[in-house]
Amino acid sequence: MSDTPNKIVLKDVHKRFGKKVVLDGLNLEVPRGKSLVVIGGSGTGKSVMLKCVLGLIKPDSGQILVDGQDATRFDNGEREDMLRKFGMLFQGSALFDSLKVWENVAFGLIQGRGLDRKDAKAIALEKLGQVGLGAEVGELSPSELSGGMQKRVALARAIAAEPEIIFFDEPTTGLDPIMSDVINDLIKSCVQKLGATTLSITHDMASARKIADYIAMIYKGRIIWQGPAAEVDRSGNDYVDQFIHGRAEGPIKMEVLKP
């Protein structure tokens, strides 16, 4: 099962909330050991897509294959086993504010893998070092950190258990351009070190260009283009062109209420 060329495959995935169709027959393939970045505007279904793969949201129909196994049919135990392969960096970092920074990073190791607190702390401090944070930061509370530092801690937490697959949900949102680039560099170096498969979603093109091997564009719940990152500028797709150049005029119409 593990020798499939694609680590994750989404086949004809549908999801609607009430009358609102969010995923409308989405198909996507994430190649093993590569970095795929899904770009798209707000409300196009990017986050729902990630949450469907993780089992946080149940799709209405379709298949989600992880290492060739259909994750939509997993029971709770199988899903917990599957999630051991995953690390995730959340848009707002999602650090546990009742725990110290090192406990956040070590959380998956202690609770998920049953590691001893002392050993988990050593690993957590090592991972904090990998993202450029000293051991003294480990004793702080997340609320004492800046947004950029919180993102770094969240990255350290995502890679702490050395997962096979890492998801990045808007990794640079809310950061200044320099800090965004620092985070992009860290993502790149950490992922290369682990050899992990990554799926990221973003609307930050600078970030997408930096961390992607492949880029896909989502629009109205479907993937409308997918190809190597280097080819995104000559995709020949009007939607992609409009998005990557950030033009108001084009086939993508923003649903803005006129005054």
Partner: protein, 258 residues
């Protein structure tokens, strides 16, 4: 809209809510018996729910006992039955006022805090983060709170019972002219084990209700700060109402036919 359709929708929404709470309760209870067990979290929650609620519950019990002694003295005086003050105070406190007022005070203090904490975790994706870190959020967040509240409330109410009775004693002996020894004798002679036990069983039920409502509303909160605010209010209101309803049924269970 058709009035019948409105009634139907309200009824269906009610049934949906009842179903959700029932499933939530089932999951919460089921996970109490399934490993892994988070003892560290359990102890922390018992401290938060039990120990840190002592001042507010203690003060409530003290003044309730004091007021009760005064009121009963006035009421009983009309029938020349002032000697009943001690026994009515102790029965009133242990059977009803200790668990109910204690439960309501803890509902205000703890259910709101639980709903706010878990609700904030929900809207900031911390609960999703737990799942991705191979931790069952239900087991990690809900089960320790349910267990801690169910175990802590009886202890808290037992202390409240003692403080409440002491409040009545202080007023009776210092203000109403009762003899201290006689008052204490009357307090103990008329008290039966079942009076205390039924109050403690009520406290356990109320503790479960408080944690259940706090966790349920927090877990299902949506829509940022406003959603968390609503969850907090809903948790306190629903916990308080359910405590009053459950109080009747537990009372009937213990005292039917007596």
């Amino acid at each position: 809209m058709n009035p019948l359709a409105i009634v139907g929708r309200v009824f269906l929404n009610f049934l949906t809510a009842v179903g959700r709470v029932a499933l939530f309760t089932f999951e919460g209870v089921r996970h109490i018996f399934l490993p892994p067990f988070y003892f560290r979290l359990l102890v922390r929650q018992m401290m938060t729910i039990g120990y840190f609620s002592l001042p507010v519950v203690g003060l409530t019990a003290l003044f309730t006992g004091m007021v009760l002694a005064l009121q009963i003295f006035i009421g009983a005086g009309r029938f020349n039955a002032e000697s009943a003050v001690a026994s009515i105070v102790v029965l009133g406190i242990t059977r009803e006022l200790g668990p109910v007022l204690g439960g309501l005070m803890v509902a205000g203090r703890v259910a709101s805090a639980m709903a706010a904490e878990i609700g904030t975790m929900r809207v900031t994706e911390q609960i999703d983060a737990l799942t991705t870190l191979s931790t069952n959020p239900f087991k990690y967040l809900v089960t320790p709170r349910l267990l801690a509240a169910t175990l802590s409330l009886p202890v808290l109410v037992l202390v409240a019972d003692i403080i409440g009775v002491m409040g009545g004693y202080l007023i009776a002996t210092h203000k109403l002219g009762f003899n201290a020894g006689t008052y204490l004798k009357n307090t103990i002679d008329f008290l039966q084990t079942l009076d205390v036990v039924s109050g403690l069983v009520k406290a356990a039920v109320f503790g479960f209700i408080i944690a259940l409502m706090g966790c349920y509303h927090g877990f299902h909160s949506r829509g940022g700060a406003q959603g968390v605010g609503k969850a907090t209010t809903d948790a306190v209101v629903s916990a308080s109402i359910l405590i009053l309803v459950a109080n009747y049924f537990v009372t009937e269970l213990f005292f039917a036919g007596k």
